[in-house]
């Protein structure tokens, strides 16, 4: 059984092409993370699956039905990136309201417990903290005991600790063969939760695979140094690099094999000053994959165009 299916989906918002042709199948039981930087099109893609947005072209199916179909929606729980609830109602009042929307809801107590909101059950929403509000939306997402939950950047506004317990709770809920579709711009979050990561950038799927596969494609180290002359791409010919930025005499390389690179560069007799080799943070590692810092690379005259970074990933 396929939960959601996107075929050649594009979406324009006026001049903005938010999705440029997405094909995606989400089978039942999948734990899927849509990973991508801000503006990649994650929210738009989820909106399509839920029938919140109509594709400009292509088709979207939810449980084989039109995403607007109430029978399809009755099997889904959602946590949107931007949405609201009546602030005057209490947590348990809202959970009970949402339970009534679904044919076979779970008990209100269980939904509240899954979200870890027992102490706040009687509190009006207006009195909840940012993280507690996120957990309330999670409680509302699971209240209908859905087969699939869509979570659009669910951990935004949470501190490290509550983020961990929250992800734990999602994993438990998913454990019963339920389908999870989560968007995030943190690789570690996707890695922790998902069995499959789909990397989206600028409206396109740029990579699709297991977390290990995706991680093998991103660079773990950042090497920077200055030379005594202007550098060109030719200086780095054939080196195991994921991404290269050259700015005059300065080079920045994202790679998994910094030793290889340095050995080769020394052998080629290149002068190297101010060398630093550090672990690339996840954001940076991710940049290597999606080549998102185009503007920066462009203005500093990087020799490596974006397309080659993407090709490298797709290879």
């Amino acid at each position: 059984m396929t939960v959601a299916e996107l075929r050649g989906v594009t979406k324009r918002f006026g001049p903005v092409e938010a999705l440029k042709g997405i094909d995606l199948d989400i089978p039942e039981g999948e734990l899927l993370a849509l990973l991508g930087p801000n503006g990649a099109g994650k929210t738009t893609a989820i909106g399509m699956m839920l029938g919140l947005r109509r594709p400009s072209s292509g088709t979207v199916k939810l449980f084989g039905l039109d995403p607007g179909d109430r029978r399809a929606r009755s099997r889904c729980g959602v946590m949107l990136q931007e949405s609201g609830v009546n602030q005057t109602l209490s947590v348990s009042e809202l959970v009970n309201l949402f339970r009534a929307y679904y044919p076979n809801p779970m008990s209100a107590d269980r939904a509240i417990a899954l979200a870890g909101l027992e102490p706040e059950a009687k509190k009006p929403v207006a009195k909840l903290s940012g993280g507690q509000k996120q957990r309330l939306y999670y409680a509302l997402a699971v209240a209908g005991d859905p087969e699939v939950i869509f979570l659009d950047e669910p951990t935004v506004g949470m501190d490290v600790e509550s983020r961990r317990t929250f992800l734990e709770s999602i994993k438990n809920f998913a454990g019963n063969g339920r389908t999870i579709v989560l968007t995030t711009h943190y690789l570690d979050e996707a890695d922790e939760l998902a069995r499959r990561i789909v990397v989206v950038d600028r409206g396109l799927v740029v990579a699709d695979g297991t977390p290990d596969f995706i991680k093998s494609k991103v660079a773990g180290r950042r090497v920077t140094f200055d030379s005594d002359r202007a550098l060109t791409e030719a200086d780095f010919e054939g080196l195991p690099r994921k991404r290269l930025e050259i700015s005059g005499q300065r080079a920045k390389i994202l790679t998994d094999q910094p030793e290889e690179i340095l050995r080769a560069l020394f052998q080629r007799g290149l002068a190297i000053k101010n060398l630093s080799v550090v672990g690339a943070d996840l954001e940076e590692a991710f940049l290597a994959l999606t080549a998102h810092d185009k503007a920066k690379a462009g203005e500093s005259g990087a020799a490596e165009p974006d397309s080659s970074a993407l090709e490298e990933v797709n290879r």
Partner: protein
């Protein structure tokens, strides 16, 4: 671990409509219970006007008739202010807080949320009439047959449909910031010119000449008619109200569609 076979009790693929509607109404009631100011506002102001104006201007003879007339005026004022302010500001706020976006992603049909908002507003309107009626009967010695009391309530609730349309138009057309000001800007002059605040009989003629074009004028006439003091044939008043309701609901529907297209196209 094997994948779970999702077992669904046979037959039920969507929640029963009655349950959705019931829960939505309950949530609206919980909202009103938690925001008593909403209630107080719609009850206290009309009652205050009624008491003040009735006491100050009541004639020596025929005071009960005067109080009955004012009951129509301030009843209409109370109900229409609920329709415009509670619905108008309520809907505009729900849009601003994106309550409708999350709702749209659930299986709840859109009309259920609106319908429950309207039904509870009507309930609140009826409740807001109670203190007015008690005051009119006890202090103003208003004496009406049971049929006329009932007619008054029915006229006040259903005669307010055009104003409900106006409330929805404001709710879907204006931002949450502008909705209260806009509601006041339209509603206050309109009610004044229609004689809901001060009886038309003691205001200059030209006021009525303008007022007659507004839905609230005919709404007032319908209410005064039900206490035996209207100047306009009820049938004409009803006709005016139907036309106004069609126009205002039409405008509300346009704004609604515009809002939906922006968010969900």
């Amino acid at each position: 671990m094997s994948t779970r076979v999702v077992t669904r009790p046979s037959g039920m693929s969507v929640a029963p409509m009655s349950r959705m509607l019931g829960a939505s109404l309950k949530a609206r009631a919980q909202f009103y219970r938690r925001s008593p100011l909403f209630l107080v506002f719609s009850m206290v102001l009309p009652l205050m006007f009624y008491a003040l104006f009735g006491t100050v201007f009541a004639p020596k003879s025929g005071a009960p008739e005067f109080f009955a007339y004012l009951l129509g005026s301030y009843g209409a004022y109370a109900v229409s202010s609920i329709m415009i302010f509670n619905i108008g500001i309520g809907v505009a706020t729900a849009r601003a807080q994106k309550i409708d976006v999350l709702q749209r992603a659930t299986p709840l049909p859109g009309w259920v949320a609106i319908a429950s908002e309207i039904v509870t507003a009507m309930g609140v309107a009826v409740v807001s009439l109670i203190p007015l009626f008690i005051f009119g009967a006890a202090y103003g010695h208003v004496q009406l047959s049971a049929a006329r009391w009932l007619l008054l309530v029915v006229s006040l609730v259903f005669g307010a449909l055009p104003v409900l349309g106006l409330g929805l138009a404001i709710g879907y057309g204006a931002s949450a910031n502008n909705a209260p000001a806009l509601a006041n800007l339209i509603y206050l002059p309109m009610s004044f010119l229609s004689g809901l605040f001060i009886p038309l009989a003691i205001m200059p003629d030209w006021i009525q000449k303008i007022g007659v074009w507004f839905p609230t004028y005919h709404y007032g006439q319908l209410a005064w008619n039900s206490v035996g003091q209207g100047k306009e044939e009820p049938l004409w008043a009803i006709l005016w109200l139907i036309v106004w309701a069609a126009v205002l609901f039409g405008i509300a529907a346009r704004f609604y569609r515009r809002d939906q297209t922006r968010k969900f196209a």
